[in-house]
Symmetry: C2
Subunit: 180 residues, 2 copies
DNA sequence: CTCTAATGTATCCACTGGATATATAGAATA
DNA sequence: TATTCTATATATCCAGTGGATACATTAGAG
């Protein structure tokens, strides 16, 4: 895709975009290093110069998802808007969102960018949802409660366990359940 | 492990147990058909006589998890007990629980046992959480709200996004957040 | 007792993530 | 400018995977 030169120019960033695109297209399970490499016209082994292994690449994609979500949420002025924007993001990028929530303790420890991106998201949520003069513990719980509701609802909706209806109906329903 | 006879006796059930054990030991990603087959002393291809493919086997394991969870929840007399038992199950079998929640629409359509098991769980929850004379829609929302909170909390806790504390602290925290 | 359908086996395939060794190029040094 | 050094890309290999096809065995229906 880029030049035919031996060196690629900006392989890390392009690999990230390519991986993210592939994940959103065909799902995480069907996203192979070789497919990502082919998409940016390089060898699958070249990726290892920039990512420790496949999981590290996936975690980097997850981190980019967290960043985008946090950025989108800065537009929220209240809890209801916050929940709507959050849910819309997840419904628009279900596989990316699944990957973000599939990260585990080890990933958060191993990939600093992931930890940072998640913390940034938490900060945005704190600013929007718990701006009052409450104690830190109280504010943390407010965010946690909100996140539990919206993420729990999304998870049940996206999987299909709960036989929820259309996306739009789902959003109004979780808003009602959350009392917003 | 069983006899050395050509026919195995009860391969489907044993395969299910073996797969579930492997999943709880090493995680879904590292559970291969060959490893499951080796555990019950057969060929990986024999599994295909009883499960359409790897995903079908995993979905069957998930269904068995739903059944066990529903059975455990019949002991609950109120919402607080319900939430505690649910959370304890997930914390005791985190990888199995992850698999259960990783099932998607296609799995629920393709594997009838999975749909049935999930519906049975919903029924138990309806009985415990929404026994009153409310409308069906109201009862459904009560269950949904409860499930959103507990599953959302578990998901955030198990992944480590939210930096939650110990399991015990987590349980008391979600009970408080849910107002139970 | 035979025949057939269900079940288990043997063997193959394309593909995967990852390891090792080699080639290239861009930057720093001289 | 010429030379070395290091980061980056490639080539090639490997064991392991899910799945396909063809064949062997066996239990049961007739």
């Amino acid at each position: 895709m880029p030049r035919k030169a031996y060196h690629h120019g900006d392989l890390p960033k392009q690999a990230l975009y390519a991986a993210r695109a592939l994940i959103e297209e065909v799902g995480v399970d069907h996203t192979s290093l070789r497919a990502v490499a082919a998409k940016i016209d390089t060898t699958h082994r070249a990726l290892y110069n920039h990512f420790a292994d496949r999981d590290a690449l996936l975690s980097a994609v997850a981190a980019s998802g967290y960043r985008d979500l946090a950025a989108a949420l800065t537009d929220a002025n209240n809890a209801a808007q916050h929940m709507k924007i959050y849910a819309c993001f997840a419904l628009k990028h279900p596989r990316l969102y699944g990957l973000m929530m599939q990260q585990n303790y080890k990933a958060f420890e191993t990939v600093p960018a992931l930890r940072q991106a998640a913390d940034a998201l938490i900060q945005v949520s704190l600013d929007t949802l718990a701006a009052g003069p409450d104690s830190d513990d109280q504010r943390r719980r407010t965010v946690m409660r909100h996140w539990m509701l919206v993420h729990g609802g999304l998870s049940l909706h996206l999987s299909g366990v709960l036989r929820t209806r259309s996306d739009a109906a789902f959003i109004t329903e979780i808003l009602a359940i959350a009392g917003l």
